[in-house]
């Protein structure tokens, strides 16, 4: 693959990778660094790309792995308690966005941030990025059943909370 093909075929997925990395890291700069590293790896391993069935899923998988590595090294460096990291997750909206977004959007954000890791990843891949179940299996290296069960749980957890919010204003 030459640089033009790389630019035209691979680079356009950057925003999907960025949003996926952001899901894990909740920090735009860190997410940007991860995406940059993913592209360098993809370029270095471009000979393998012909063997990979779905290279976009392959890129997403690298993004996930690098993001998790980064979280691990970050927690090692900072020795933060789990509660602190959860606080960071809830503040994932920038000040500008929080003034713009209305209250219910912030609530949804908190709701989704509070979901278990796997459910959060799956609901993001399906409902934000619009990946098929097969692609999600490929990206997260899970079987179809696990993907569907986790998506069902995630959607229903959100639904229950939404009903509560609307009924009691909680």
């Amino acid at each position: 693959m030459n640089i033009e093909a790389f630019q035209n075929r691979v680079l356009p997925v950057k925003n999907k990778l960025f949003r996926f990395a952001l899901r894990f890291l909740n920090n735009e700069e860190e997410a940007k660094d991860v995406v940059q590293e993913v592209f360098i790896r993809v370029w270095n391993g471009r000979e393998q790309m012909n063997e990979v069935q779905n290279w976009e899923a392959w890129c997403m998988r690298i993004t996930k792995n690098l993001s998790l590595d980064r979280i691990r090294s970050m927690t090692r460096k900072q020795t933060q308690s789990i509660e602190d990291t959860f606080d960071v997750k809830n503040e994932s909206l920038t000040p500008h966005e929080s003034t713009e977004a209305d209250e219910s959007m912030q609530r949804i954000n908190q709701l989704i941030s509070g979901l278990p890791e796997k459910q959060r990843q799956i609901i993001h891949l399906r409902d934000v990025e619009g990946y098929s179940y097969n692609e999600i299996c490929d990206i997260l290296q899970l079987d179809m059943n696990q993907v569907k069960v986790n998506l069902f749980r995630a959607r229903n957890a959100v639904r229950e909370k939404l009903i509560k919010i609307n009924a009691y204003g909680l």
Binding site: I3, F18, R19, Q36, I40, D102, D127, V158, L162
Partner: protein
């Protein structure tokens, strides 16, 4: 939009039975509005999905940075040509060296050839002179060697009785 259809799709959505197209249809509905009261519960969720999809990296600067980073790392083709160029340069140096040495050697040979005499008589005279010099040298050396021989004979004479006594 048909409210019944949305109800049906939402039910399918919560049960994870919607297709990607149907989910897209729902997102469009909640994005475009107007939203029926009965669907307002779900609205923030779909709006949240839509908002999240808007997050993106700066278009030009990011692409340029990646292309710069990537092209700085040499491609394999460049690496191969570079190593082949190195080998070719090595061979070129070797060839130049052999050519240089050969020409130098042929130069020294031709110098010897130039030194020889053109005239065979003169050459014969010179050779005779040289041989005579060697011959004179040999003659002189022989005379001197004879003196050394005298000493050797004398020493042998002296050593003889010694050998006799040791034999006894």
């Amino acid at each position: 939009m048909d409210s019944e259809r949305i109800n049906e799709l939402l039910n399918k959505y919560w049960n994870c039975e919607t297709s990607l197209e149907e989910e897209q249809y729902l997102r469009e509905y909640f994005k475009a509005g107007p939203i029926a009261d009965e669907h307002k519960d779900a609205a923030p969720l779909f709006q949240y999905f839509g908002e999240h999809k808007k997050k993106s990296l700066p278009e030009e600067t990011f692409d340029d940075r990646i292309v710069n980073l990537v092209s700085r790392k040499k491609s394999k083709v460049v690496q191969w040509t570079q190593s082949y160029m190195r080998i070719a340069a090595g061979i070129a140096v070797l060839l130049a060296a052999t050519w240089f040495i050969q020409t130098e050697m042929s130069k020294t040979k031709s110098a010897e050839v130039q030194d020889t005499y053109e005239d065979p008589k003169l050459a014969f005279e010179e050779t005779k002179k040289a041989l005579m010099m060697i011959s004179r040298g040999f003659g002189k050396a022989e005379q001197e060697a004879k003196k050394i021989n005298l000493f050797n004979e004398a020493r042998e004479e002296i050593q003889k009785p010694d050998n006799d006594t040791t034999n006894l």
